[in-house]
């Protein structure tokens, strides 16, 4: 396996191009394989090549997506699925916030239609409620991403924090239902329930019997 003869600057430029593409692969995979893949890529290069071909680019990016969709070595499938469910719940939470913002006027109108005598006060109350949701929503998203990272790392504290977060999210759903939110804001509330269901599925997977050794083992490594 000999690299084709090319100038040092061409070779360095091509290598940089390949490294940029390999950066899309998961860190654990790169640690294990990057140098070896790079050696093969350089050996397959044409003599005057200075940048990766479109074919190689597409192939490497496709490989990166495939590797991202696989559990890392030693990671149970349950933990892997739980992390993807948390990421999905982050997306639905973002969709929920957008829907809430887009339907704010309709929500206000439907509450006022039910209690016309208190239109002014209700207008303020709905505004306040939506503002609170729009502030706490992004914070919730940041917390969920942080928890997903801790779960990927196998941190026991992350698992406990996720259980607490789920408890808070259950209370939030119950509070919304008690306020007839499903009647006044069916779209946002429906998506919100979807977020809760995804989080519930993730919590079941994180506390599944198959997931426990992953967290225990990582704790041992850390201590």
């Amino acid at each position: 396996m000999n690299e084709p003869s090319m100038s040092a600057s061409d070779s360095a430029s091509l290598e940089r191009g390949y490294r940029r593409l390999l950066a899309w692969y998961p860190k654990w995979f790169r640690r294990e394989n990057e140098e070896e893949i790079l050696a093969v890529l350089m050996a397959c290069a044409q003599e005057d090549q200075t940048r990766p071909s479109l074919e190689a680019m597409a192939d490497l990016l496709k490989g990166a997506v495939r590797m991202r969709l696989r559990p890392m070595p030693g990671q149970p499938r349950t933990v892997f699925l739980a992390v993807w469910l948390i990421i999905a719940s982050v997306l639905t939470e973002a969709a929920d916030l957008i829907t809430l913002r887009a339907t704010e006027g309709g929500i206000k109108a439907s509450v006022i239609a039910r209690y016309p005598a208190y239109a002014h006060a209700i207008g303020h109350a709905v505004n306040l409620q939506v503002t609170i949701e729009l502030i706490t929503g992004p914070i919730g998203i940041a917390v969920m991403l942080c928890l997903a990272w801790m779960i990927v790392k196998g941190k026991q504290r992350g698992r406990v924090a996720f259980a607490l977060f789920f408890g808070v999210s259950c209370l939030s759903v119950l509070l919304s239902l008690s306020q007839d939110a499903l009647v006044y804001a069916p779209a946002a509330e429906g998506i919100g329930f979807g977020t809760w269901a995804l989080t519930a599925a993730a919590i079941m997977l994180v506390f599944n019997k198959a997931s426990s050794p992953y967290f225990g083992r990582r704790e041992l490594v850390l201590t």
């Binding site: 396996m1 397959c44 074919e55």
Partner: protein
């Protein structure tokens, strides 16, 4: 089993090979029809290693580049043999039917 996977296992059936060697061998086995690219090869190798069908035989550093040699495991040999037998049975059945049809057509 995907064709690329089958060809990678076939390339390793004759002995240990490094990544570039597998690419060249697959091209040779398939008569140039299958051109494996590095991304496809290494995602396949990762999957085959995780499934226990191949293993790392040894590593070398040549011209400051890492070269890792892969080998077929006993499970990999069994799996390849089973897949080859399955494909052979299908090919035999297809040829037999074609011969029958041709014979019928001539008659």
């Amino acid at each position: 089993m995907q064709e690329a996977t089958f060809l990678i296992l076939t390339a390793l059936a004759a002995g240990t090979q490094h990544g570039y060697g597998i690419i060249s061998d697959v091209a040779e086995i398939s008569d140039g029809r299958v051109k494996l690219l590095a991304g496809t090869l290494y995602t396949a190798l990762d999957r085959l290693r995780a499934d226990g069908l191949i293993g790392v035989d040894r590593e070398e550093v040549v011209d400051n580049r890492l070269r890792r040699y892969y080998r077929l495991t006993p499970d990999g040999e069994k799996r390849l043999a089973a897949e080859a037998a399955r494909l052979q049975a299908h090919a035999t059945a297809a040829l037999r039917r074609l011969n029958l049809n041709l014979a019928g057509g001539v008659a």
